[in-house]
Symmetry: D3
Subunit: 277 residues, 6 copies
């Protein structure tokens, strides 16, 4: 991101899930917006660089999470399971883990959490529908279900304890879009950084829900909440369109993975698809 620098400057930012794909991409980028960047994960990470702190901390370990949040101004919560897994795998990381994070943040006095949720919270809406951030969740997986839980948890900690969150329903954050669905759902790495900067610097956010998506030519999401908190994407999937359409010339609109916003996620798992609508 080569724009004019912003004034954003935290004392200590925490990035969870720093060993994951998004975490590794974000770590050097977010380093610039704080005096100290604390990064955490369950797995091994790159050693701490200048102004960095590296902490191994499983999300389901309540005491470890309490320690992890000490002295933290704001959190980028990218930790946890981010693909479909059995419920027993999703539960400790994404449900117990989210609770541990919020409770630790409340007790430690953290000001704001950016919660990496997912478009799979609303994956069972049709690709022919435009939805806002206020529709009833229709998760397409246990993974999406666990993210819906995190969103409700964030609302509760704001209403009850005044702890602010911006929930990001992230589309497809990849170097480039690789199929036709991603022409609508793609968010570039630079736009993801812009989005994080925007929601960290917005003066008052309460609990806001924002779709994390670039300025693509086609979209299913009314992202007016994104605009309200100052997110202005500058990338688009359009330059990749011709190549993607050539590679995937035809879509059978009768197949569930083509009909729903969640794409192939709606048919994941060991059981056949039996949904009706």
């Amino acid at each position: 991101m080569h724009e004019s620098s912003t004034g954003l400057r935290f004392k200590r930012l925490l990035l969870t899930g720093a060993a994951g794909t998004l975490g590794r991409m974000l770590r050097p980028r977010m380093r610039r917006y704080c005096e100290t960047l604390r990064v955490s994960d369950l797995a091994a990470m790159e050693p701490a660089g200048d102004g960095e702190e590296v902490v191994i901390a499983p999300l389901e370990d309540e005491a470890a999470m309490f320690a992890l949040l000490e002295g933290v101004d704001a959190v980028l919560h990218f930790g946890g399971v981010s693909v479909e897994k059995p419920f027993s795998t999703v539960l400790p990381a994404n449900i117990v883990g989210a609770y541990n994070l919020y409770e630790a943040a409340r007790r430690q006095g953290t000001q704001r959490i950016v919660f990496a949720s997912s478009n799979h919270v609303t994956g069972f809406y049709g690709q022919g529908e435009t939805i806002s951030a206020h529709v009833v969740p229709r998760p397409d997986t246990f993974y999406g279900l666990s993210k819906a839980f995190g969103e409700n948890l964030a609302q509760f900690y704001f209403d009850r304890h005044g702890l602010e969150t911006v929930t990001l329903r992230i589309g497809s954050c990849l170097p480039e879009p690789v199929n036709r669905r991603q022409l609508s759902s793609w968010i570039s790495h630079d736009d993801m950084e812009r989005l994080l900067v925007a929601v960290l610097s917005a003066p008052v956010v309460g609990h806001s829900i924002v779709y994390g998506v670039s300025d693509n030519r086609s979209t299913w999401w009314d992202n007016s909440q994104g605009r309200q908190v100052g997110y202005r994407p500058q990338d688009s999937s359009e330059p990749w369109r011709a190549a993607v359409e050539a590679k995937q010339p035809h879509i059978d609109p009768a197949r569930p993975e083509a009909r729903y916003q969640g794409g192939a996620f709606v048919v994941l798992g060991p059981f056949p698809f039996a949904g009706q609508e």
Copy 2:
């Protein structure tokens, strides 16, 4: 309920939470709508009467739940924690337990689940607001949060597996209303039975969310989904109004418990109220 009988007749109905307050009230009433009523709980229950089956089955025991659902046409899921408790207590009963119930129902081929959710899923809306069943959840407790999870789970099992649910956001189901908030949130025992009969006999329900409340003079809930599935309450809190108002003559509208629909639940727990709005 002394109305003309309905044709409703299941082969086997399952009532979970049968040792609880609502479960004990509902057991003899629901007996009339099925050939066999299976009742379950963690705790001891009355011995099986004619046409009854009594099963001890903890919700968090996956195998026990699978066995419990065998041969069941429809479920009235009233089991689990129904007041505010620490998250570690709510988790196994209401989150893991709900998953176990739905997964067992899917595998056993159950047709429909009636899920006893709660008005505490939306307890942080103001008493000056009228809300529909489609607003963003604003749970007021870990209890309410767990019920919001169950609602999303029900939506997922319908969208993915075609398993139908009617979610009931139950108000205050008591013999009579005992404070001014309950003049709005009360549902009589007879209306609860009418509601269960309605949602069990509605031909097609998908996943519907209905507020469980009597025909009270004042209300915060737009219950048009209730009318759609055929719920027509016949009781009202009005006969108790004078007595309740005499007992509780003044409300301080600045106190959180008077401002929010969730009432005293919004201030439960060991921490002070720090919400902003």
Copy 3:
């Protein structure tokens, strides 16, 4: 209908489709609200009684329609095809016929038309949805499509020429409901009369769209426009529920005719059902 009589009194009312099932039922009832009741159809009708005029007039005959409207204050337009037929059959009766009727009414100075439309204008909405009169039409048949045309025609004649219409999206007008879908869609003969009296006597209607349905326990239609023009149904399908449910104990919610408001109409015709949603 044994209520206190209303003051409604037209000089000359026209009832088209008088040889049809609804027409025959309505003829003696509407006789009371006018000095002269003119009845018309393509087919033979009962001879004219006292204060009646009987006219054979095919809807597709422009000149006959012009003559038919002479001296008419208000029209109850129940003529035309009222079941699914090939497009070539629906076209002259319901599309050309509706045009002929409106153009004749405009030239003859008729004040108001009550247009018998159908719930099949919106038959492809799901039985799990509650719709208002302002949704985008989703007709389920050529018949429903022709009624949607008539509704737009009525809107045009009001906007362009000031000719008022109340469009009635009639549910199932039968002596009694005979299947589970009709528990929601039924309108009694008495309520149909009440509806006609209401919309004829409302002082100002512009072009209003009202669902024609009794006060059934379950419904898919938000009929607030009906209330606005003064329709207050007094009958309900409820007394027939037990018998209907006994006769039709189970519904397979995966079949199109159970999923859509239009019921069996959505699968009529010589071609297989290939809709997606």
Copy 4:
């Protein structure tokens, strides 16, 4: 009103406009709900009965209003101009007067105000439209404009000072409806009393806006806020319909007074009607 008594019992209620038509009707009725009823007006009133206090106090007299509010728990503000008058007449009574009342109430610690507003705040909506209490005001007169001011003032005193108000957009409060418009807009004297009792006894109201209308067969107003605060009208204009329609058999829908909800008010004043829509 002969229903079972309610527990409502204020120490001191203030009724302004007590010499007006509505004020005289309400004075004996409201006497029952308080220990002391203070009544005020600009004009002479009946002498004080048992438990009554009679005060002459012009609304535009700031000091008089401050004194008037001393010791008052709740106010029924029916004072001021209630028909169309030149702006110079409406201004002191309804704009300055409303300010004086609210400022006095704030300084004296009054808990709640019931503000008699008018349907003429929204009189330029069409009789073919159904409106809620949240639409943009379209006043039909200077009188309606002044009432819109009072509604905004009430909102401000609640948001800024926590002083609660229920605004009543009163239809036509008369012994009986006398023309076809009033078949929709009429509120009986008994229902007006029921409405006042409801809004005085509702536990929490913030600033609510309610249409004051009986349970008439036809209506233009979605009064869900009325239901929320517990208003359940029991009268209807229906028994007068036949007589009213006989007296006024035809309406010319092209005349402004027939097209707009405000009726004849929309054409009051010395200037011709030049509105466009």
Copy 5:
């Protein structure tokens, strides 16, 4: 259109109405997006160029239409009457013709139809209103009425047969805007091409309704569905504003043609304007 080329490539596209003004403009442009461009009309057309097929086929001729659709992947349906005409002229071309086209497409297995509808489907909305694609139609002419029929037909063929359509409510497609209304309704030839490319290449469209309008400074249409299917206009009427305003300095807002979105169409025909609102 000089943008980077897209990958769009059909085997055989059909363009109806190829002899009309829009058809002639679109023919060379659409040639680039397919191997074979079949063009049809009632009237004579330019001879077939390389990769073109030219067919004379009246829309009202069912057999000709069936033959015309053979081997066609997608249709751009610009044929029929596109100005106001007597109903008897509009009927065969636009109502019977639309039916013939859809029925032929269904039987021949065509994947998608782009239906050239018109802003005159909603021409009776006011120029002071912003409308979405989901409002109730208010056609301003028989022409607009026939296009509303086509839209409902498209919805039916999608719901019943899975045949996808994008309906384009085209504004004023001209080389440049020539009056003040067109400053809002204009679409450039390049943007029309962009729009067709977008809706042909969108992966899943169901039945979508999109306004066909450039990125003008002022607009009456909320075109979020256009954005969803990937339409991004790049032209604007702004460069012509000064010239247009100089030529037409004043608008009398009381004249119907200035008040309604349909402009002069609302007063076409041999009869005086008698609309009320």
Copy 6:
């Protein structure tokens, strides 16, 4: 503003409040769009330049206002009190003054008024909410209350007399944004000129309400009505963001002035803040 000139050219424009901050900024800019620019205020102004007329006219002086409007085509009404003052100060200038202006305009035949309203009409909405121009007013001051009165007055003069108004709810019109709230509410001087040109040149406006704000990265206002009348802002607060955030690094979201859109206005005045929500 260095764009291509527009054709806008009035015979005589009136700018009230010409001695105020905005008035002085606008006077030379608006001079270009008319043959004669009449400027007025209560206070002394710069002497008349070429093509200018300077008039001292207090808004509360009915006769002076009548004279002031003579020969005026359109008005930019920026006069009156524009900060919080006691009600007795706001009343004559903003309430009586607005009435005098509209009544004079009606009698003199003025075509259109641009009314400088304020975001303080809706200042009690939260900074976490996005509002449209159609929400219920929640004024934050007597100043905001008086502007809400002016908006209703404008609606009345359009509905009753056909006099068109565009109401501008102006944010913070300053050379540059000076605090974090203004990053959302700022409008540049150039954009203010663009806005005035747009609303003066739009062909038909009725009574439209538009937010006056630049194209800032973050916003609380859905300004679709602005787009409809042709307003396209070209400036943004973004270049000032880093400096503003450095100067004001932290916001305490619990303080009323940080929570509400009206900012510090919500706590102005001699009384403590006692609002609840």
